[in-house]
């Protein structure tokens, strides 16, 4: 058993007693979120970036773009890949080394939310440089810097906000030699709206939204859902060995549809940041 899975029996009892009384340790209602702030455009060397503070969780996402070969079955489409690192900087219980199953699951949840929603239209002609030969590859890399719980939603928000300020270089292509050169000028990455994630945790028989670190450790089941700005569900993931009933899933979907509206607003507000912003300048 890894140390981050250990929750002392005292802490667990405290948590479940509180929840049974209708309370949470930080005074929130069951469906209430912690404060959230997005600082967009924070990394000069990245083509897109955003730092998110979600409660006391801090996440940094950066996007690098690179020309590369398309997949054979989609010769005209760009490629996106999401990678997440549970950096040892973020918690005494995260160790260095290649990403483990936990980090890979989170990366794939964030990846699916973005990919399946087609918020970034990978078939956009802007992402295809030479059909079958050269397309833009988007690397979205997420670094967890401070693990205060609910990493999935914070990571999804950081990744989406980073994509929202990503710029592609304009290209000049020699038609005879097919030689491609990057120009200084850039244009915005094509984007159709946004997608945001909502994660719920089950503690005893109660469902809460946006678990903090201790709630995260004490949960028996987890449910994450990604919802687009048009209200479409683009990915879902149930986690841990606890279970949900159908009506619980429906309630969570309803709460998520409501909640993500605010997150979409935050993403749109943060997408207007032409100047490089300062990291770690949080209001709370």
């Amino acid at each position: 058993m890894r140390s981050n899975e250990i929750i002392s029996s005292l802490e667990r009892k405290y948590l479940s007693d509180l929840i049974a009384k209708g309370n949470r340790m930080d005074g929130r209602g069951f469906w209430e979120s912690r404060p959230i702030q997005i600082i967009p455009n924070v990394v000069k060397k990245a083509e897109g970036s955003a730092m998110v503070k979600w409660g006391d969780t801090v996440v940094l996402a950066g996007v690098k773009i690179q020309l590369g070969s398309p997949f054979p079955d989609t010769p005209n489409d760009g490629v996106i890949t999401v990678n997440l690192e549970l950096s040892p900087i973020s918690s005494p219980s995260h160790e260095s080394g290649p990403p483990g199953p936990e980090a890979i699951e989170m990366a794939r949840i964030v990846d699916r939310g973005i990919r399946e929603s087609q918020i970034i239209p990978m078939d956009d002609p802007k992402l295809c440089v030479i059909p079958g030969k050269s397309v833009w590859i988007l690397f979205v890399d997420i670094y967890i810097l401070d693990d205060g719980g609910n990493l999935i939603d914070a990571s999804a928000l950081a990744a989406m906000a980073a994509l929202a300020n990503t710029r592609l270089n304009l290209l000049s292509i020699d038609e005879e030699t097919e030689e491609v050169s990057l120009l200084e000028e850039t244009e915005a990455l094509p984007r159709n709206g946004s997608v945001a994630s909502c994660t719920f945790a089950k503690i005893n028989d109660t469902i809460i939204y946006d678990p903090n670190l201790i709630e995260d450790r004490g949960k028996s089941a987890r449910f994450s859902v990604a919802v687009t700005n048009e209200g479409l569900v683009s990915s879902m993931q149930k986690g841990e060995s606890g279970t949900f009933f159908e009506e619980e899933i429906l309630t969570m979907l309803e709460k998520a549809s409501e909640r993500t509206k605010e997150l979409h607003n935050l993403i749109e507000q943060s997408s207007q940041a032409p100047e490089l912003q300062e990291m770690f300048r949080f209001d709370f």
Partner: protein
């Protein structure tokens, strides 16, 4: 890529970013930026952005690494994938392993490790945005992180690179000056004692230029050390203010 050798000094003798030959880039330092870590520091140095987290002294796993007479220091220096021009693979490369090793050797020197037998002090440094001179900046940040963690220290490490650009010795090389210049010499010192804890160089330098470089670095390090002092004092005066407020409330 074909790159023509360009001049790194402007006609008026200034550098490409407008600095004088011996001028530092703007530096900011903040401690205690992370909640989970025992100590932390966020440092910006020109366009370098570095985050450093300290854990310890704490129990060491795996046990066979433990020393019965003192704590060990483990340092992990990493570049974020998006901190450089071409995306770096997430797996650490040879450069990162070498730097982690020599940074650890420097940090060893300033800690009272014999006070914590069998333990470890872990230093995690990630460069979030790189612009030349990151190893010096990393140790400058790590020192503040260690102080923030309250780990007993006998000195503070302060670093600065010097180097040769268009035949002139300059202070604090930028990324372009580092890559296209004629020589680079990163230096880390314990300012109070004048001891050098890290010294490397690459490129072609005469003995005279090395001498000049060492002098220039010493002066620059003196300035950066004062910034470190200020950053630490700022942290403790903040705590003092908070204590005063609590006292006032109690009265």
């Amino acid at each position: 890529m074909n790159k023509e050798k360009r001049s790194l000094l402007l006609e008026d003798g200034r550098r490409l970013d407008g600095r004088e030959l011996h001028e530092l880039r703007p530096i900011t330092m903040r401690t205690g930026v992370l909640d989970r870590a025992d100590g932390s520091c966020y440092l910006t140095w020109g366009n370098n952005k570095i985050i450093c987290a300290i854990y310890g002294p704490r129990e060491l796993h795996p046990k066979h690494l433990a020393r019965p007479d003192k704590a060990i220091v483990r340092v992990e220096y990493r570049l974020a994938t998006f901190s450089v021009d071409e995306r770096k693979s997430p797996a650490p490369r040879r450069r990162e392993y070498e730097l982690s090793k020599i940074l650890a050797e420097s940090i060893n020197k300033i800690l009272f490790l014999e006070k914590f037998p069998n333990g470890t002090i872990d230093v995690f440094i990630t460069v979030l945005d790189a612009d030349g001179g990151t190893r010096c900046a990393a140790l400058t940040a790590a020192s503040l992180g260690l102080a923030d963690a309250g780990i007993p220290m006998n000195g503070i490490l302060t670093g600065c690179a010097v180097g040769k650009v268009d035949g002139k010795m300059v202070v604090d090389l930028s990324d372009i000056e580092d890559k296209e210049g004629e020589g680079d010499m990163p230096i880390v010192m314990i300012h109070n004692t004048g001891e050098l804890t890290l010294l490397q160089s690459d490129g072609k330098l005469t003995v005279e230029e090395v001498k000049e470089g060492l002098k220039l670095a010493e002066t620059a390090i003196g300035k950066i050390y004062q910034m470190q002092r200020k950053a630490l004092l700022a942290k403790y005066s903040q705590i003092e203010d908070q204590l005063d407020e609590i006292d006032d409330e109690e009265e």
